[in-house]
Amino acid sequence: MEIIKYIVFGFNTLILLYFLAVCSIYITLNIIAFFKMSKYNRTIKYLDLKRVFKLTNYKPISVIVPAYNEENGIVESIKSLLQLEYPDFQLVIVNDGSNDNTLQKLFENFSIRQVSFTPFYKLKSQPIRSVYMSSEYPNLIVIDKVNGGKADAINAGINLAKSPLITVIDADSVLERDCLLKIVRPFMDDENVIAVGGTIRIANGCNILHGNILNVGLSKSWLARFQVVEYLRAFLFGRNGFDVLNGILIISGAFSCFSRDALIKIDGYRAGCIGEDMEIIVRMHRKLRRENPKLRITFIPDPVCWTEAPETFKVLRSQRMRWQKGTVDSILLHKNLFMNPAYGWIGMLVFPYFALFEMLGPVIEIFGYFFFIFSFALGFVTISFAVAFLTTAILYGVVLSVLSVILEELSFQRYPKLSQLLSLIAAAFLENFGYRQLTTWWRFRGMVEYFTGKRHWGKMEKKGFVK
């Protein structure tokens, strides 16, 4: 009996250490990110971004927008994208075999006419049926192709893109008008930059008109508010923290910018991949940074891209399961990076972190919770251990979440009303009592589905925020 007690105690202690480590790492990343962002804010304050219009050395950008069944929002999205502030950009809409009226809407609204085409590059993609060009907007082209998924659609877009920089965005994202001016800066500041990610924020509750954010707001749904806190903690501060180590392992597919040559060199996106946005970055580290460690994959902390977050449990579950499958897929595909000193920080620190905390995290946490409840019920753990466990698993999470909101307030202050700040603080507190555990459970299920062969994308329904 004593031996069992020791084993149970040892296992519980390991789980406790796990929770302690994951929160401590995030708090460290948040603090590192805060200093990085303060520096960034100081730098960008007097940059006069629009000076780029006067320059002769700006870099043209092709903005690729894969679209699948986007008939409800595509027209507004394109109209908004055409207003982006940049001296020279081409907008490439890729209709990925939609079976709704997406293409028809484009015909009706943008005077597009078929052009003869030959792809510039040979990245693998499903066949292109036709290419269209707008007589009204000379920088707008539309590619109509056989359905092949997001990665495949992006590859088709790259094959016809004419600019040295490629920006990939989701059709339903709302971009701030100066986002291209901002995302191109790292490429101008450092010739070694091959990819840049932008911060994604949640648009639910914001006042959006014709694809432009008029006022930043918070959704009435607590589910969406929890996600705002989650995005702050993991996406904004977490990724910015890794950036200091040149250790970005994922750039959101909703808004990213690449050097075209780098994309061509690694044969573009991997078609059929679930988490294509993570996989491509890991592959860039693996193939390009191995050859030239000076190359940089970086992240700008500016809030530049707004996206719609799921407000129902069903859609959120589907999203989180898909994300988890994507993480597992990318990590297993590139498992030889794990603890590989040839890849520096990426091999020795960032990749193991992702493998342990992002991929295996849900398994450890779910087993940990169940094991703790089980051993507590059987009287295998002391009260002091139980308090320590719950404090670490839950209250330490509260510290982390609230700290993220505080850092947001001290750096960007994007939520203008005091009531919004207080709501976010409340959400940061409450998300640790149920929401976090629920998303962990969904991630766990995602992992189970991945290993049992259910590797499809799942359906992602969106309400849309067209006004």
Binding site: L16, L20, K39, R42, T43, K45, Y46, D48, R51, V52, K54, L55, T56, N57, R113, Q114, V115, S116, F117, T118, P119, F120, Y121, M133, S134, S135, P138, F187, M188, D189, D190, E191, T382, S384, F385, V387, A388, F389, T391, T392, L395, Y396, V398, V399, V402, L403, I406, E409, L410, Q413, L418, L421, L422, I425
Partner: protein, 363 residues
């Protein structure tokens, strides 16, 4: 005291209780921070309102000042030193928009009033934030009095201070500082060619003459390339012949490309002969750039060579070859059209069809 307390707790309670207590303590600290942030937000809200009130009052004052005869010193006397920075932030957009007499009047608000010593004191402070802010406004207002200090700041080891001082000096058109900018930029490994160009293009075209003199003996390919790009920016025709000589012997891809772009911008027809050999250069970017330049320079004797490029291994070169042919060879559109639709399986013909159909839509 805290260490003592920690030791006391470790001795008298077990490690798990200690851990729980630590996290509780962190939680309490976090909530103190929350209170602080809320208070800061209230303070910020108050300051924003004050700033808005300030802007409302000063909007009228600035417009009256620009239209009237009020002296800048009289206007600045109406504001307390503590609010100078509000005023400067308000004036920023005016500085970026206004030109001519209005700009001169606006500049005198800084250059002939107490705002200048205020900014100079910022420039001498140890804080990079203050230095950057001061350099920005002194540069915008073209404050001659700040030149000496700004040049000193060029030697700073802080990249942001270097960049803001360089930008201010460029806006001040301090020609003598240009070589200090080149020299000191080398100390920062991450300052790129593009960043330097973005700064140097703030100079007026007066900068071209000393750069022209320097180019004769300059061996650094980065500086050569930046200089040629600036010549292109300012359309400095006099440098055409010298750049041509440099390009012919340069092994640098960057220098060659910038030179070709320069010839195209200033329409230097004498460059055609040199471009003849570059049209088959091993680097596709150079071949492509030559074709773009030929589209401007329009030397018909290149016709066959350009046709040959339609069979280039790189799509971009093929694409530019078709465009160039259509631009410089009269009647070539018909010939290209025959070629494009007479060879349906040929890749070069496919590119030609693409260019033709794009052109039809654009027209």
């Amino acid at each position: 005291m805290f260490i003592y307390l920690g030791v006391f707790l470790v001795i008298h309670i077990d490690i798990f209780s200690f851990l729980a207590l630590t996290i509780f303590a962190l939680l309490i600290i976090t909530y103190i921070l929350v209170i602080q942030v809320v208070l800061l937000r209230l303070l910020h809200g108050y300051q924003t309102k004050q700033e808005q009130k300030f802007f409302a009052v000063w909007e009228e004052r600035i417009f009256n000042y620009l239209e009237g005869d009020e002296k800048p010193q009289t206007l600045i006397k109406k504001i307390r030193r503590g609010k100078y920075i509000y005023l400067l932030r308000y004036l920023r957009e005016f500085f970026l928009m206004l030109k001519g007499d209005d700009f001169a009047k606006l500049s005198s608000l800084i250059n002939e009033t107490k705002l200048q010593p205020f900014l100079l004191s910022y420039l001498q402070s140890g804080s990079p934030r203050k230095i950057n802010e001061a350099a920005y406004f002194l540069g915008l207002a073209k404050s001659e009095a700040s030149k000496r200090l700004l040049r000193k700041k060029l030697r700073s080891e802080n990249a942001s201070v270097f960049l803001s001082s360089a930008l201010a000096l460029a806006r001040l058109n301090d020609i003598d500082a240009v070589f200090d900018i080149f020299r000191n930029a080398r100390h920062f490994k991450f300052i790129s060619k593009d960043s330097l160009l973005a700064i140097l293009s703030e100079y007026t075209d007066d900068v071209c003459k000393p750069l022209f003199q320097n180019l004769k003996r300059e061996k650094n390919v980065l500086i050569q390339s930046i200089t040629i790009t600036l010549f292109r920016h300012f359309k400095f025709y006099q440098a055409g012949e010298m750049v041509l000589k440099i390009m012919v012997y340069s092994p640098s891809k960057d220098v060659i490309i910038e030179s070709i772009k320069f010839f195209s911008t200033i329409e230097l027809f004498e460059a055609s002969t040199a471009l003849r050999s570059l049209i088959t250069h091993p680097k596709a970017e150079i071949r492509s750039e030559v074709l773009k330049a030929l589209a401007v320079l329009g030397d018909e004797s290149f016709e066959q060579r350009i046709w040959d490029r339609m069979y280039d291994s790189e799509y971009e070169v093929q694409y530019n070859a078709v465009i160039t042919l259509m631009k410089i060879i009269p009647g070539s559109e018909e010939k290209i059209s025959r070629f494009a639709y007479g060879n349906l399986k040929d890749r070069a013909a496919a590119i030609a069809r693409m260019v033709l159909s794009e052109r039809n839509i654009k027209n």
